[in-house]
């Protein structure tokens, strides 16, 4: 048993998880379909979005330098981090230099990826998660299970119980609206009292040095405008050449994620507070994080750097819909997570992820930037095979089968024997239990094969 299969078994045994995932992902799937139908030529828009990202990835170094220069010109400070630890250290150092005791954090998957929540806690800095779902996750002391809806795995009943236990002034009415109000009461003061606001970036605009965030709650703006310091942690692949490029990507992102034409709040931050401004941070820091991205670009995963973190692939994945996000074991779940996690956390402990996929291609079909996710997953399978990480039984089984398959005459003898064996076990037309194929027959019956193979019957007919 691997860690993955243990987590899968736990997930499948949890009936509440299934209900919760189905409620949110099912709604997202339906809303996206309506939005895409209403959009003129979404297919061409996907091609364009992929081309924009490919252009940036091909010229990433130059665009990063351009972004850095523009951001510095706007008064922001730019930092570079090769690793997750380095990125966290930079953030902690900025917080310490600012004398920060409390930070308000606006949801960022990059922050999760580099372990920032944990690093802040270790540094003794109070962290307030302001996205409603991240707030739920923080109260429950869990990890996000989805990149758009981190608390997707929780039902309303579970959230209600959590808020009643942890909120100072919890909801009275048992409705989702009342629960959201309870969180609003709880978080508003915390946001206004924070010393530092930390966000990710949905896009970095190379020509202006702006950082773009999108939210539906408005929690980014409430977390980032009042504090004295705004820190952005962003993956280096978030660059786009200009605002019109970002606009195309924003159209794709909102529709793919939630089915909306646009998020409610879309903000481009360019540097700190200006002279005369009535609000805004005194300092703006941007931490550009590599954490394996240059390596991905060098080692055949450049297409994965197109990802804009919309979550459509997981919402439409038959496996994700059954097991939810936590079973994947990494920061990013679903198909995109199955590609990213081996790159971020190593292949050996994560080899299952690439295999736990039916290769049905739905994720690629819905991806707004046309990432060939099944192909990339097969790439990991090949690497795993090449590095000897695949189980011996699998290697041995495939080896024997291929040995026969490469010798058609012997293969025919082999199939005749296999058919005879299977027919001995099947009493009616069905086989209810078959040694060596218990994975199949534990859950379903296997039809008994015909008495003789196609090839045997065909050759006999030809001889007539």
């Amino acid at each position: 048993m691997s860690g993955f299969t243990d987590r899968v078994d736990a997930a499948l045994a949890d009936p509440i998880l299934k209900i919760a995932v189905e409620r949110t992902a099912g709604t997202a799937e339906a809303k996206r379909a309506i939005a895409i139908d209403a959009f003129p030529d979404f297919e061409a828009a996907r091609t364009r979005a992929a081309a924009i990202k490919d252009h940036v990835i091909a010229h990433l170094g130059a665009y990063l330098e351009q972004f850095e220069a523009s951001a510095i010109a706007s008064g922001a400070q730019v930092h570079w981090a090769q690793t997750a630890d380095e990125a966290c250290r930079i953030v902690i150092d900025i917080c310490k230099a600012a004398g920060a005791r409390t930070v308000a954090r606006s949801k960022s998957m990059l922050g999760e990826e580099i372990g920032l929540p944990h690093a802040l806690e270790e540094a003794g800095i109070v962290r307030v998660e302001t996205d409603l779902a991240e707030h739920i996750i923080q109260l429950a002391d869990e990890r996000p299970s989805h990149i758009i809806w981190p608390a997707m795995h929780k039902t309303r009943e579970q959230v209600s119980a959590l808020f009643r236990a942890k909120h100072a002034n919890p909801h009275e009415e048992e409705t989702i609206a009342a629960m959201a109000q309870s969180a609003r009461r709880e978080l508003r003061g915390a946001m206004l009292g924070a010393d530092v606001g930390i966000s990710g970036a949905n896009f970095l605009i190379a020509d202006s040095g702006a950082v773009c965030t999108v939210t539906n709650e408005g929690n980014a703006e409430l977390s980032l405008v009042p504090p004295r310091v705004h820190i952005v942690t962003a993956g280096i692949e978030k660059i786009v050449p200009s605002m019109p490029h970002a606009i195309h990507m924003l159209r794709m992102l909102a529709r793919s994620a939630t089915g909306a034409a646009l998020t409610q709040y879309t903000t481009f931050y360019t540097g700190p507070k200006r002279v005369g401004d009535r609000d805004g941070p005194e300092q703006m820091h941007i931490v550009l994080v590599d954490n394996g991205r240059t390596k991905m670009r060098e080692e055949g995963l450049a297409e994965m750097l197109r990802c804009i973190r919309c979550g459509a692939c997981m919402n439409h994945c038959v496996v994700f819909r059954q097991i939810g996000g936590h079973a994947y074991g990494g920061t990013y779940p679903g198909p995109m997570g199955a590609v990213l996690t081996p790159a971020l956390d190593g292949l050996a402990p994560n080899r299952d992820l690439a295999h736990a996929c039916t290769l049905n291609g739905k994720c690629q079909e819905v991806c707004p930037v046309k990432i060939p996710l099944p192909t990339l997953l097969k790439g990991w399978r090949e690497k795993s095979w090449h590095e000897g990480l695949e189980p011996t039984s699998m290697r041995w089984g495939l080896g024997v089968w291929a040995w026969f398959a490469r010798r058609p005459a012997l293969y025919r003898l082999g199939t005749a024997l296999a058919i005879r064996a299977m027919r001995l076990i099947g009493r009616t037309g069905w086989i209810a239990s078959l040694p060596l194929a218990s994975g199949w027959t534990k859950h379903r019956d296997l039809p008994k094969p015909a008495a003789r193979s196609f090839m045997a019957q065909y050759q006999q007919e030809q001889r007539k």
């Binding site: 299969t5 899968v8 295999h355 996929c357 039916t358 090949e382 795993s384 379903r444 196609f454």
Partner: protein, 251 residues
Amino acid sequence: MTANVALFVTCLVDIMRPRIGFAAIRALEAAGCTVVVPQGQTCCGQPALNSGDRSHAVALAKQTIEALEPYEAVVVPSGSCAGTIRCHYPELFDDDAAWRARAQAVAAKTFEVMAYLDEVCGWKPEGVILPATAIYHDSCSGLRELGIKAQPRRLLKAIDGLSMTPLPGAETCCGFGGTFCVKYPAISNAIVSEKADAIDTTGADLLLAGDLGCLMNMAGKLHRKGSKVRAYHAIELIAGMGDGPAIGEEA
């Protein structure tokens, strides 16, 4: 139209349900094709390819290409195996120009059987009668790699008495996924259980699809749960063999 067509039977049809191969021959001959079954064929190599075992995948691709290249067209009663030959063989020879050219040539003339009958031959079944209601599941590889959606439905529409009814989630994977279903049986079972429930709620008599692997998965689950729905490869009905035993029924 007359064409010298090679039938690539597929390993699953060869062993588990030869009727599908014979149905394909019957329909192709009715459409005016001369059908040959090249003897050098075994399996297209998809299990190796999808397991990351590139060297065996390459060896089996070469063997299959050699067996199939003498013919005008290659017809396959499986969207998944046809997809492997059409879409993935050329990718296997990135650094071998000679073999890549041969792979591309075979890929270009390889077709899923129903797409071939409908789009290339412009043929329809005539005089086939089967009074039943049926649903069609779109197997993923055929649907997404080869664009197979309308072709089988057009052919099935020409069968007298057959009434097609919609299957909710017809394009949702059934959870087969080749070796996936035995590597992760619990996940596969959860997926196919939902599929079987969706099938049952339609009240249809027959479940049709274009891939035996998916059909065995769905039919095996339906049988285990006591459903009365009977499953066939669509080509069996199209070739006028829909009166024979369904998957799992004794001849």
